[in-house]
Structure formats: structure tokens, C-alpha cells
């Protein structure tokens, strides 16, 4: 665990105390400071902004509810992301997998190279998250944070409140499962290879 500088810890603790006491200005300061990180963590796990407005509210309600327990061991930002990750995990673990595959309709790809690349990225992302919808929730969260977001295994372990070994195993299993699902999907297979065919996650 990275230890935050003393000044940051003091500021975080003070802000947390004031927000926990119901000071709306402090709550707003916390919201404004952490909203991007909370959104990023949720988006990475869920793959789109659909339903995210409600989930961000849920995450902050949980953050404000839990503030009295914030001890300042990690930064407030990391602590908020941990809660956001938990909300993301609960959301996908309660979600039913889609009943049917997404329609594979070929897009008309324009000639412009950049636009073409964007379209390919969009399609690869869509297929990736469609495949992620079908794997176990903990594996998905670990894969999303470690591989898609490029966070270290230690950081993912902190965010998911588990151990580095557990995270490493989940990422490995997720990749294996995804590669299996991508065996007949050249686009997804190629994209997974680009995202790290080997075990390149940082410890």
C-alpha cells in the first residue's frame, strides 16, 4: 500500500470529518474532487455510461455513509475508488447475462484512417465488454482494472479488498476465459492480444 504524504493525509482526514458531520460545503468539495475517479472506476468495470448516473449517486451515498470509518490509511481518492469498485462489482454480479448475443452487424467503415481506427476500437470494445458480460464478476473487475486500466496488481488488490495472489489468479482466469470465447472472433482475439497476450500485469 502506498502511503500518502502527511499533508495529504491531514487534508483528507479533515475533509472526511467535515463531510461526515454533514457539512454540505465539504461534501461538495469531496464530490467535485473525487467524481472523475469514481466515474472512471465504474466506467472501466461496466464499459459504458449507461446507468452510470445512478451508480455514481449510489457510490457517493455509500461514500458519505461510510465516511466516519475513514481512518486516513490510504488517500481519500483511493478509498473512494475502493467503494466505487465495490458498487461496480455488486452491479455486475447482480446483473443477468444477456439472453442473446449482440447483433454482429458490420459497420460501414469510412476511408479516413483515424475514423477507421476509432470505428475499429469501438467495435473491439463492444465485443470485449460483451465477452466480459459472460465471465465471473470478480474476474471481470480484476481484468478491467489491471489490464484495461493498466493498474498494478497491488493497486487492484487494494481496490478490490483482496490479495495480490487472488487478483493475479482472477486476471489469469479472465484472460483464459476471454481467449476461449474469442477463438472464433478474430477482432476480439486480435484486440486481446494487443491488450496483453502474456502476463504483463505489474506487480
Amino acid at each position: 500500500m502506498r502511503v500518502a504524504p502527511a499533508a495529504v493525509r491531514d487534508h483528507d482526514r479533515d475533509l472526511a470529518q467535515r463531510a461526515a458531520a454533514g457539512d454540505r460545503a465539504a461534501q461538495r468539495e469531496l464530490f467535485v474532487a473525487q467524481r472523475a475517479a469514481v466515474h472512471h472506476a465504474l466506467y472501466r468495470i461496466l464499459g459504458s455510461n449507461r446507468d452510470l448516473e445512478d451508480l455514481i449517486q449510489d457510490a457517493f451515498l455509500e461514500i458519505f455513509r461510510a465516511l466516519p470509518s475513514f481512518r486516513g490509511d490510504s488517500t481519500l481518492g483511493r478509498w473512494c475508488q475502493t467503494i466505487a469498485t465495490r458498487i461496480g462489482y455488486l452491479t455486475i454480479s447482480r446483473r443477468r447475462p444477456p439472453a442473446v448475443d449482440l447483433a454482429l452487424v458490420e459497420e460501414i467503415i469510412p476511408d479516413d484512417v483515424d475514423t477507421q481506427r476509432q470505428a475499429m476500437l469501438r467495435e473491439a470494445t463492444r465485443r470485449l465488454y460483451a465477452a466480459l458480460d459472460r465471465i465471473e464478476a470478480k474476474q471481470r473487475v480484476a481484468f478491467a482494472l489491471a489490464v484495461l486500466d493498466g493498474r498494478s496488481l497491488a493497486e487492484v488488490a487494494e481496490l478490490t479488498e483482496s490479495t495480490v495472489i487472488a487478483v493475479k489468479t482472477r486476471v489469469w482466469r479472465a484472460r483464459k476465459d476471454l481467449m476461449k470465447r474469442a477463438s472464433k472472433d478474430a477482432v476480439l482475439s486480435s484486440y486481446l492480444a494487443e491488450l496483453g497476450g502474456g502476463s504483463n500485469e505489474r506487480e
Binding site: R18, D23, R24, Q27, R44, Q57, F60, R65, L121, D149
Partner: protein, 371 residues
Amino acid sequence: MSESDRLGPPPVEPLSDLAWSRIERGLWSRMDAAPAAEGRPARAARPQRWLWLAAPVLAAAAAAAAVLTIGGSDGGSGAPTDDQARLVSGAAPTTLSYGDVHLTLDADSAVVMDRRAGALLERGAAWFSVAPRGERAAFVVTAGDTVVRVVGTKFRVARSGEDASVAVEHGTVEVRFRGATTRLGAGEQWTSRRPDEVSAFHVAKRADAPAPATAAPLAEAAAPSPATMPSAELKAPIRADRPVSGPRTSPLPAPLPTPPARAHEPRTEKPNAEKPDAEKPAQIDDDAAKYHRLEQLEVRNPKAAIDGYLELARSSPRWAEPALFAAARLAADRAEPRAQRLIEIYLTRFPSGANVDDARKLLDHMQGANR
């Protein structure tokens, strides 16, 4: 795979400012709705010598759930202290007095009153009647980046996200906004969306129109009469020419303050021009309550809110204008295909409606996006 062929990690699409505004309003609204459940320490109100609360004066206001939070001994970290009170209105406007300041909160609004620092408008809108300050420091209302300084007057401040608007009925106020100061006199209004402009604010005079507030004696505050209250805002239907601010998800700031009289009302709504408020009061209150309920519903179930607004626009001539605009605004928020059509219908039906400027902007924005 060459470097140029790499697609990179999946992008994280940012949320728009409008979406953040919706999220923030919804969040605070949920925090206020269930403070205990959400873990926010709820403080019991306790009597203060200097705090006089007036009861809501109308039946509509009876539905309001005003929450008063007064700081206790655990203050000191910026939470409300003994010198502060946090006032939150529910589904209907609420009128009360704080020291010698009378205020009428719009539905679903929140303000922190401080004996020394003035008022912090957290959300929504409020009319303030401030007694002449004499030797005392000026009364200050803060709404986001907007600071309104006043020495004794009646004025309204509305806030939507970081946007604020100010309208003055009596006296003079100074509005400070991002380093610039604007002076507003009686009958003038200002908005942070156009900070360099001051426009006219037409105040419709009523027989019971309030005089500028003076120091309110205790008895008077405890049993408010129309003459001592900013009554123009008390009767919900009077505000039918504009939607009140609530937990809206609007891409637009709170509607500009408009005359409390029904300046934009269709003629057919005034069979009795002298006593318009005498018309079907129960129906009026019903429609007002319906509108406020729909505002609350916007965050939880926007689709149902749109349908409700459209129904209200069909059934209530008095609330048709704000309801139709609210439906159009919400549909635009949700990028619904019918949004543009609704705005066009609004502009056709209410060419001089209170939200025409906003509707036109919204339409321009949508047409620009379609091009």
C-alpha cells in the same frame, strides 16, 4: 502488430456537464430525502431565542416537508453551528423567518442561514426580505460563484448547479460574480449565464403585495399575514408562468425569475380578472402539487416524469407552459427523438412563455447537433 495498428485501451467516455449537474442535484436530493438512512447525522432542532419559524401559510405549503437543521455542540468542522440553520423545503414552497430575514423557499430548495455570514443557497431558489441593516454588516447571499450583497430589500436568488440568477423587487443589491460587480435596482434582474447584462424584472403589484420587510416582531412572525410575507411566491399557481426549481435534470439553469403575476397566462384562464386566485383553488393546488411531484420524479424515473408533464400540459391550462417546457427539456436531456418536436410545439403554443429563450437555445443546440 505495428505501433500504428494498435487500437489502445478502451476509451472512457466522459460525462457531460449536464450529466454531472443531474448527478449532483440527484445526489443532494437523495441525501436530504433520507439523511438518517444515508448516514448523514441528523440533528434535532432545538429552540433558539433568535429563530422564529413561521408556519406555511397555505394548504399547498402544508404538503411541504421543511427540514430544519441547527448545529449543535459537535460543530466546529464547518458543520452548522449554533449560529447557523439549514433550511430544506419539501414538495411545496415554504415560508419562514430567520432573525429579521423573511424567506420563501421554492419547493425542493435548501439554504444555510448564518447569523453573521448571511445565507448560502445550496440549491433551488428563494425570495429574501431583508430588514434595513442600519449599522450592521450587509446581508450576503452566496449561490455558487455568485455573491449578492444587500443592505435592506426584497430580492430573489435562484440557483441551478453553478448558475445563479438574481431579481430585485425593492431596494438595491450588489451582485459579485467572478471578480465583477453588478448593481441591481428595483425591477432589475441578472443571471450568471449573461453576467454582463441587466434586464428588466416586471413586478406585478397586488393588493396584498408585501412591503419591504422590517424587523419582524415575534408575534407577527409566528402568525404571518400576507402583508408581512413575500406572498407573491406563496401560492403555487401564481408561479405557473415558470417552473419552480426542483431536483431538475435540466441542461438549463433555473428558469429566470419572472413576474409573480400570471403575465404569460392564456387569456382563457382568467374568467375573473380581478380575483383570479379565487378560481377552483383545490384544482390549482392539485396541479401545483402534481408539478412538484413530477419534479421529484425526474431523477428517479425521467420517462414517467415526461409523460406526467405532458399529461399536466394537456389538463391544466395554468401549468401547461412550464409542464410542456419541462417535458421538452427532460426529453432533450435523454436525447429522445421527440424532444425537438416538443420544443417546437412549446414555441408555437407559448411564443412569449417564460422559458422561450431557453427553449430556443435548446432547439438551436439540437439542430446544431443534427447538422
